[in-house]
């Protein structure tokens, strides 16, 4: 990501000074930054040159960020990160459902934005982009909706997991019927920058298994001795 091959980011926000501040920050971290103050001007920029990623404010006068994201993600597979002052759970879900790759609540801290931009770009490069097309994974009668962060048991009862267990389960259902080592699980569930606490992951896996078996009954996660863990059922993406 250096020299001529710099990643090109388009900032769409009606607040000029915030746009400039974010822009300066991203430029300082090696990105090429373009700016637009509304949906129409964003489209004009996009006509002239391709970008890798769009950072989009939700609340803008005229056409709002949600409808911009919807048309944008339908037309191209550019990565989209939405920034919203509303930051409630519902807003996050709507944002992800209209096709954003990630959603950040305001106030945005520079470090957080940078981490999210890098994570989204990494996911895109490894070909995991079309995750918004099917956000529901079905296995053995269970359903996991990764956007709504909802797990339903075979009787359609809603199961709430802790944050750690949820990201673990997500890592499992995205890679079913494969042996996953602790390190892999840690990376998939927490991201590569996470501090490794190895023992915590064992606790969380055993908690996750207990919670799943308390409602389902059948074994879903098997321990493979001295190797790691395997998610047993077949997973269908809806």
């Amino acid at each position: 990501m250096s020299g001529e091959d710099r990643t090109r980011v388009l900032l769409v926000d009606d607040d000029k000074s915030l746009r400039r501040l974010i822009g300066e920050f991203l430029e300082a971290h090696g990105f090429e930054v373009l700016e637009a103050d509304s949906g129409p001007s964003m489209r004009m920029v996009l006509e002239k040159q391709a970008v890798d990623l769009v950072v989009l404010d939700v609340m803008m006068p005229g056409e709002d960020g949600l409808s911009i994201a919807r048309t944008l993600s339908a037309q191209s597979d550019v990565a989209i990160i939405m920034i919203s002052a509303l930051g409630s759970e519902t807003d996050r879900i709507i944002g992800l459902e209209v096709g954003a790759d990630d959603y950040l609540p305001k106030p945005v801290s520079p470090r957080e934005l940078l981490a999210r931009i890098r994570a989204v770009l990494r996911r895109q490069q490894s070909g995991e982009k079309e995750q918004t097309n099917g956000s529901v994974y079905a296995f053995d009668g269970w359903e996991l909706d990764i956007i709504r962060r909802i797990l339903r048991d075979p009787e359609n009862i809603l199961i709430t997991l802790s944050e750690g267990e949820f990201s673990l389960l997500r890592a499992f259902v995205e890679r079913p019927q494969r042996v996953l080592t602790r390190d892999q699980l840690l990376e998939y569930a927490r991201g590569p920058d996470s501090d490794s606490f190895d023992r915590a992951i064992d606790t969380q896996i055993s908690r996750l298994r207990r919670k799943l078996s308390s409602r389902g009954g059948t074994e879903l996660i098997r321990t493979i001795r001295s190797e790691g863990y395997m998610f047993l059922p077949r997973v269908i993406r809806k």
Binding site: D15, S17, L18, L21, I22, E24, F25, A28, M59, A85, L86, G87, S88, E89, T90, P105, K106, P107, V108, S109, P110, I150, D153, E155, N156, I157, L158, I159, T160, L161, S162, E163, G164, E165, A200, Q204, R207, K211, S214, R215
Partner: protein, 460 residues
């Protein structure tokens, strides 16, 4: 005809009038018909003279076929019999015997339930007795006292050999027949009126019940279809008023939501800018200002959440409550807090997962923050799920417990900004519990520390 006219909007007034007057008129017509059409009492009364003839074994003009004659060694005492001294006087004079040698009992005759009701009432009521007594005074001296009698009786006369000649007459009192028929008719008319009353009441109650149900759901902030105006005109008016009210409420909520959104945007955008301005600042300043920003953001978030929850549409889904609470406990444990689920019972409740998670997260977080350690129990009792959260803190004063759920109220001693928040946590907990038809209470534990108890209906 009646049904089609019911479908037109009518007022409750008209409905009730129609029902009451309809039933009264129908029953009255039936009664009038009964009185007019039934034959009058056709069995003629028997006079004292005729009774005397029966005792002597002679024939009488009419009604002599229902008698039974026999001779007894002692005076008969018929069941339910009542002596009639006037008849005894008259009959004995016709028999030319001393009044003491004649016994006359009026009897009930065929036993029927209406007779047994009347058994305590003398058929020779006071009015008739007075009349015959007067007759006795006037005609007695002339030997012309001859009272008449209706219905069943037993008469006995002492014979010269000391035995008694007995005559029993068994004849249903014609008036008793008539009374019986009237009573039967009244019972039948009550039974006849019942299906009509049922129909009317149901037609009347159905729209009122639908209306009450809708009003109750609006009260709990649930999405409600407009109430269909149907039934009596009063209910139609009320339903329209309710729909208007709901529309106004919705407008108010959506206006408030957009105002809240604008405020959030206007406050959080400068905070974002502040974050980026800080990038070039020295590290010491950066961490201090970042902490201030985080605190302001926490306050904005709490206020917004409180306002938004109030007008929030409540999705209602079956949720495993014990796993939800356990997930909250696990999240806090993962962050290094002392939280523990001591006892969990499987309980499924219906509700909004986001709001319920917030409810228990706030309660357990409070216990961890102010009471060092949170211990959680989940139990079920009579269809109610109970979640108890105990801490090891100093507890609260009575005053604090009473006011703890008031928005922006903070217990004295927790004004410290690092732990104090802005006093909305418990207000959010309470409104979330109420939105689910449940409740939340605080109490000091006898062994020290505070206990928060959340109850939710429908623990299965």
């Amino acid at each position: 005809m009646m049904l089609s006219s019911l479908r037109k909007p009518r007022s409750i007034f008209a409905y009730t009038l129609l029902l009451v007057m309809g039933v009264v008129i129908a029953v009255s017509l039936g009664s009038i018909g009964l009185i007019m059409l039934r034959p009058p009492p056709n069995s003629p009364p028997i006079s004292a003279y005729e009774v005397a003839r029966l005792v002597q074994g002679k024939v009488i003009a009419a009604g002599g076929d229902k008698v039974h004659r026999f001779t007894a060694n002692s005076v008969p005492t018929p069941a339910n019999g009542e002596r009639n001294s006037l008849m005894e006087i008259a009959v004995s004079s016709y028999l030319h015997q001393a009044p003491g040698d004649v016994r006359f009992f009026q009897t009930i005759g065929e036993s029927s339930w209406s007779n047994s009701i009347r058994s305590s009432l003398s058929r020779y009521g006071p009015r008739i007795q007075r009349y015959y007594r007067h007759e006795l005074e006037l005609y007695g001296p002339e030997g012309q006292f001859n009272p008449r009698f209706l219905g069943s009786f037993t008469v006995a006369a002492r014979q010269p050999d000391g035995r008694w000649r007995v005559v029993e007459r068994n004849d249903a009192d014609p008036f008793q027949d008539w009374q019986q028929a009237t009573v039967n008719w009244i019972m039948a008319s009550v039974l006849l009126a019942f299906p009509f009353a049922l129909l009317f009441s149901r037609r009347l109650a159905k729209p009122i019940r639908a209306f009450a149900h809708a009003a109750e759901r609006i009260g709990r902030n649930q999405l409600v279809e407009p109430v269909k105006p149907q039934g009596p005109s009063e209910i139609r008016l009320a339903a329209e008023a309710l729909n208007d009210m709901q529309a106004r409420l919705q407008r108010f909520i959506s206006e408030r939501t957009s105002v809240v959104g604008a405020i959030a945007h206007d406050l959080r955008t400068p905070l974002s800018r502040l974050h980026f301005h800080l990038e070039s600042a020295p590290d010491e300043l950066k961490s201090k200002v970042a902490a201030e920003i985080a605190e302001m953001e926490a306050m904005i978030a709490a206020t917004l959440e409180f306002v938004q929850n109030e007008g929030r549409r409540q999705p209602s889904e079956p949720i495993d409550l014990s796993l939800l609470v356990e997930g909250v406990v696990d999240d806090l444990t993962d962050l290094g807090h002392q939280a523990e689920l001591v006892e969990g019972t499987n309980a499924v409740v219906r509700g909004d997962p986001v709001l319920l998670k917030r409810l228990f997260a706030n309660l357990i977080m409070n216990a961890v923050t102010y009471g060092n350690r949170a211990q959680v129990w989940i139990a079920k009792e009579n269809g109610t799920a109970i979640v108890d959260i105990a801490d090891e803190g100093p507890g609260l004063s009575e005053e604090d417990i009473r006011r703890a759920f008031e928005p922006f109220y903070r217990a004295e001693g927790s004004r410290n900004r690092s732990t104090g928040g802005i006093g909305l946590g418990l207000a959010i907990v309470q409104s979330a519990a109420h939105a689910h038809g449940g409740g939340v209470t605080l109490s000091n534990r006898p062994e020290g520390g505070l206990r928060a108890r959340g109850t939710l209906p429908g623990g299965q």
